[in-house]
Symmetry: C2
Subunit: 222 residues, 2 copies
DNA sequence: TTAGATACATACACGTATGTTTGTAAACAC
DNA sequence: GTGTTTACAAACATACGTGTATGTATCTAA
């Protein structure tokens, strides 16, 4: 094959990433061969090994294409100050649910991360990064809930760390279950779902007595 | 190796399933070799191929050891009639969260199903069965929520199908996030989490106008 | 204009997982 | 007590994916 211009080479790189998204999504990461991806893109493994070190490197690049922008969006919304923390949290959550259900790339990568990849050595570092992003996100959510409590939007007895965990769990669960069944239009329901969750937080019962705050708990080893 | 009695053979079969649980959980299903499992059990692949047809068969048997009892429990709690549907749902949900965080076998199998398996051909039929169990579960949850609404425990405008989806998503998300981070004692918090969720359902805002009921929505194809 | 770098395609060597076949010692039937 | 079946272990054949080495046509810079 002939050498191509830099722009053309960058384009084939994107084509390889697109092909990886599709094949990973349909066959699972471990089950797909590098040859599968190359052929899906109309190329050979030579092109793949030219642009990426190996399967791990390709997977990492594919995840970054979605994760990095989403991380930036999360950071921006959390850092932005305001007078209605709970309302903004609800709207941002609904926006994420909408994006997952409407943007094909986000949808596919989430589906891969939730169903089509297993935590092992080949993707360990990539998923470790995703895990740390999730942890970072929960810390930020806790801060926002604290601000909401300070402004009287939440009852004083709510454990903000646990509330952030519940919020994160609810959204992850909504995304996962919707991706698995796709029985309804998630975008139309995302606001109701988020509002309903926060209605729960605002009307939460007091925590059980004798149980320490979330943050002071020791990490349970595996 | 010598032939062993029937009881001893049944015992080695259990040992193989135990070993599979451990190795699947630590290395991921696709990444583990049948030789890995056999050696973890102190045996050889000969024993494995004697007791199971192949990796798929072994995986299936391992899942059934946990899924079937849990399915039975769910069915029993849903079918049992009573005067406080929401309260029983909350208690049963908390019980499941507790079991996941306290029973090692349940914990490992959930971890495998959530993080250490990818949906591909080798486990397709098994995961398909799990998926149908989930669907069946949601149908039953919808019925319970309808009963709760009929008894005045829920506002009339709540879409019970969507509520069941939210409940299921919340629990799946709680289990998934707890398994991933294990930052606190889930059993101590399970009741508060469930109560908080149902507080949200009881105080849910009315659904957006112009959006059809959950059940009448067409299935979104992939 | 030409030498070298680039962007791939092709071919090959290697390791490794799988399924199967064969071996074998003990349990069980008779 | 003998034959047969059981419950595995050990050995083998096969296939397949990876990584790398090599080939090559084009682009680019001097």
């Amino acid at each position: 094959m002939a050498r191509r211009t830099k722009e053309q080479a960058a384009e084939t790189r994107e084509q390889l990433l697109d092909a990886a998204e599709r094949v990973f999504c349909s066959k699972g990461v471990a089950q797909t061969t590098l040859d599968d991806i190359a052929r899906e893109a109309g190329l050979t493994r030579g092109a793949l090994y030219w642009h990426f070190k190996n399967k791990t490197d390709l997977f990492s690049a594919m995840c970054d294409r979605v994760s990095l922008p989403m991380q930036a969006m999360l950071d921006a919304t959390v850092l932005e100050p305001g007078s209605d923390p709970l309302g903004r949290l609800s709207r941002d959550g609904a926006r994420i649910l909408r994006q997952v259900s409407e943007d094909p790339r986000t949808m596919r990568v989430f589906e891969i991360l939730m169903f089509r990849v297993e935590l092992n050595d080949v993707v360990q570092t990539v998923l470790q990064a995703e895990k740390e992003r999730g942890q970072h996100c929960r810390v930020q959510l806790t801060e926002v809930l604290r601000a909401a409590k300070a402004q009287g939007q939440l009852p004083g007895h709510v454990d903000c760390g646990l509330g952030a965990y519940a919020l994160n769990s609810f959204m992850i669960g909504c995304i996962r279950e919707w991706l698995e069944y796709r029985e309804f239009n998630l975008a139309d329901r995302s606001e109701w779902l988020m509002d309903t969750f926060f209605a729960g937080l605002r009307n939460a019962p007091p925590p059980p007595t004798g149980v320490a705050e979330f943050k002071s708990e020791p990490t349970v080893s595996k």
